[in-house]
């Protein structure tokens, strides 16, 4: 399996993997914190609406927030306990947003009425309905509601399912451990997805830096006609458009949805969660999260409950080694910097990374020297320096002409820039302004 034979995509970078600290650590269960803060906004789409009140006792898996509209999912209690508050609390966006605060009673009593099912006895429509009810969202970090992705319009026929086991972000090893420890759940999830989408062809993309996962899953999945595709180690191989290109050779057209190529992509963790939801009737209340970084004493892969405050995760991992300068939720390329450890982990928290003073270099911004490193690194084949320059001059029409809306905000350009120009921020500004203009008509 030489590097030159592995499938890949144009552009991209090779940041240091940094996965050695946790790649060999089995998943540990994270003990319950004294308080769980469950926000109503944990997914793309409208936040859920509260259906509980202070003082109420809730059971594990009970619905505490109802979905609002089609692109929305319900929110569930991660454990049984008492609702001690329904109020704005620190959120990963840096704002104070409405959340349900639950004090666990330790009994872990499941809510009644969660029914197991046999997928073969349910229609695709019924399966989608249950997935929606279980609050399933993309666990790769995007948190896009799964039932929406599984409802392609009639004019976009789907013929390929791609399972994303790439995990290209440095430091994160959650998906890797899941593939090693729960391959049967992933397989069950794939079979359910096959039934819903009515597809035969299934690829599982895994980066070549996880040879043990590839070796384990290839024979297991081959028996079911599922092909494991080893991919060249390059960031951002795990991005949807790049994954589709590498596995199938199909390119998503500019301004188009990935569905147009006839492919649906789901993360491995999401796939396993689908199996939990359909086979055991369990809603999405926990996930695997990698807690790592030089600021953490004992890095671990934890199975965490949704709503666990970041402070608790740090304590479970042996505490801090220094005063944190950067707290990242997610990976170091696309993760969101946090104001403090008070915010809770949610359905989309694939990782918590702590960096101390001087451990993440801060470069002062200099002028663009036209080196074109960003152009070479961009996986969407854009000109980040030009679009960002137009954006900072408020010339959003020109930014749009140069393809700003095709940017996937992967961070390759900012990483590659030797002048330290915040290119992704400029691109994001442009995208926001263009969308605002389209909305105003």
């Amino acid at each position: 399996m030489t590097m030159s034979r592995l499938k890949s995509f144009p552009g991209g970078l090779h940041p240091n993997d940094s996965k050695l600290a946790t790649a060999g650590l089995p998943i540990e269960d994270c003990p319950l914190p004294p308080e769980l803060i469950v926000p109503f906004s944990q997914h793309i789409g409208a936040p859920a609406e509260s259906c509980v009140h202070v003082g109420q006792t809730v059971l594990k898996g009970e619905v505490i927030g109802t979905a609002k509209g089609f692109v929305s999912v319900p929110v569930h209690a991660p454990t049984s306990g008492e609702v001690i508050a329904v109020e704005p609390r620190p959120h990963q966006s840096g704002r104070l947003l409405p959340a349900v605060v639950i004090r666990p009673n330790g009994r872990e009593t499941w809510a009644p009425g969660l029914c197991c099912a046999v997928p073969q006895e349910l229609t695709p429509v019924e399966l989608r309905e249950r997935i929606w009810q279980a609050g399933l969202v993309g666990l790769g970090g995007a948190t896009f509601p799964v039932h929406v992705k599984l409802s392609p319009p009639d004019d976009m026929p789907i013929d390929t399912l791609i399972i994303n086991g790439v995990e290209c972000e440095p430091f994160l090893t959650a998906d890797h451990r899941l593939m090693l420890e729960a391959p049967q759940r992933i397989l069950a999830g794939i079979r359910i997805l096959r039934r819903i989408l009515r597809v035969q062809r299934v690829y599982v993309g895994i980066e070549a830096n996880k040879p043990d996962a590839i070796a384990l899953l290839t024979p297991l999945f081959a028996k079911h006609g599922i092909e494991v595709v080893p991919l060249a180690v390059k960031y951002p191989q795990g991005a949807e458009k790049q994954l589709i290109l590498a596995c199938t050779g199909r390119e998503v057209p500019t301004g188009g949805l990935p569905m147009v190529t006839g492919c649906v992509v789901q993360n491995v963790a999401t796939t396993a969660a689908i199996a939990d939801a359909i086979l055991d009737g369990r809603p999405l209340i926990e996930r695997i999260c990698t807690v790592a970084g030089p600021g953490i004493a004992t890095p671990k892969n934890l199975r965490i409950r949704v709503g666990t405050p970041l402070q608790h995760l740090v304590e479970v991992c042996g505490g801090l080694t220094c005063e944190p300068e950067r707290i990242l939720m997610g990976g170091p390329m696309m993760g969101a910097a946090q104001l403090s450890l008070a915010a809770p982990a949610t359905r989309g928290t694939s990782g918590l990374l702590i960096f101390g003073p001087g451990q993440l270099p801060v470069r002062p911004e200099g002028p663009c020297i036209r080196c074109a490193r960003c152009v070479g690194a961009c996986p969407s084949r854009l000109l980040p320096t030009t679009i960002s320059a137009y954006s900072r001059l408020d010339r959003y029409d020109d930014a749009e002409k140069y393809g700003a809306m095709d940017c996937i905000e992967c961070g390759c350009c900012s990483y590659a820039c030797p002048a330290g120009i915040p290119l992704v921020q400029g691109l994001r500004q442009a995208k926001g302004a263009i969308l605002e203009k389209r909305r105003r008509g």
Binding site: G94, R95, A337, L339, R392, P422, Q425, G426, Q429, G432
Partner: protein
């Protein structure tokens, strides 16, 4: 000699005939008033009127005969001339200037996080609602100063935007550019303002800013007609701005400023550039 005259004369005649035909064939209707209006406009092309530059404004006025939209940089003098050209009665309105309702620079207000990004207030505002603990205060990265077509906004060394009242024409571009709506348009002759934009309760404000309004109501109690306090924030009632002077010295956090005495701390603008207070104390 004669040959020269005939030669040039013939060339001239030929050209004239050709152009005469062309003029008829390619005739374009042009309103002479449009050109006249364009001549009296300042020609800055700032877009404050809402149209594409001065020529766009001129065309719009000539076509619609509607002079309710004014040209802020040109002011009353220009609009009067425009009205005369169109044969309409001029509309009289008070001149306005923009004011930054904040004095919370880095020496007075606390930060929420260390911002390492594009030097643009709108970009910084997108990250956790801005790098200041105060939700309404001036972020101080200078977006308004760069957008001002008249170079009327100064950024103090401690990161506060201050508007030069002598240079401001009230065009309103800074107002639109501020992501926190800290800048407002106010009447030019009103020189007293409450320079705070935070609706948080007094105790909360004190934690993050030493010069913000705490909603203590002292100004309102001193002169009820001149000050109104809503949502923990005081503001001057500009119809009664002449009676607002006594409360300025009574404010415990000194957030009320009389621009007649000078600009906020840190500003290099000399008070002499400020139009004199009309002198009528309450």
């Amino acid at each position: 000699m004669l040959a020269a005259i005939i030669c040039l004369g013939l060339i001239g005649l030929a050209s004239a005939i050709t152009l005469g035909f062309a003029a008829r064939r390619f005739a374009v209707e042009v309103d002479p008033r449009e050109q006249a209006i364009l001549d009296v406009l300042p020609g800055v092309n700032c877009g404050a009127c809402g149209f594409a530059g001065c020529s766009g404004f001129a065309r719009e006025i000539a076509e619609s005969s509607d002079i309710t939209t004014s040209c802020p940089p040109g002011g009353a003098t220009v609009m009067e001339k425009v009205a005369n050209i169109m044969g309409l009665a001029p509309i009289v309105s008070d001149p306005q200037v923009a004011v930054v309702l904040c004095q919370g620079d880095n020496d007075h207000a606390k930060a929420k996080y260390r911002y390492l990004g594009i030097n643009d207030c709108r970009a910084a505002q997108k990250l956790a609602d801005g790098p200041k603990l105060c939700p309404g205060g001036c972020i101080g990265l200078g977006t308004c100063a760069r957008i001002c077509p008249f170079n009327a906004i100064e950024m103090t060394p401690a990161g506060l935007a201050v508007i030069n009242r002598a240079r401001c024409t009230g065009c309103g571009k800074c107002v639109a550019s501020c992501p926190r709506r800290t800048i407002r348009l106010t009447p030019l002759d009103a020189s007293i303002h409450v320079l705070c934009n935070s609706s948080d309760k007094g105790g909360v404000v004190r934690k993050y800013c030493s010069i913000g309004c705490i909603g203590c109501l002292i100004c309102h109690k001193t002169t009820p007609e001149a000050y109104v306090v809503e949502n923990n924030l005081a503001r001057v009632v500009y119809d009664h701005h002449l009676e607002a002077l006594p409360a300025v010295s009574k404010c415990p956090t000194h957030c009320i400023r009389d621009f007649a005495t000078g600009y906020p701390q840190g500003s290099a603008l000399a008070p002499a550039t400020v139009p004199l207070h009309s002198g009528k104390a309450a």
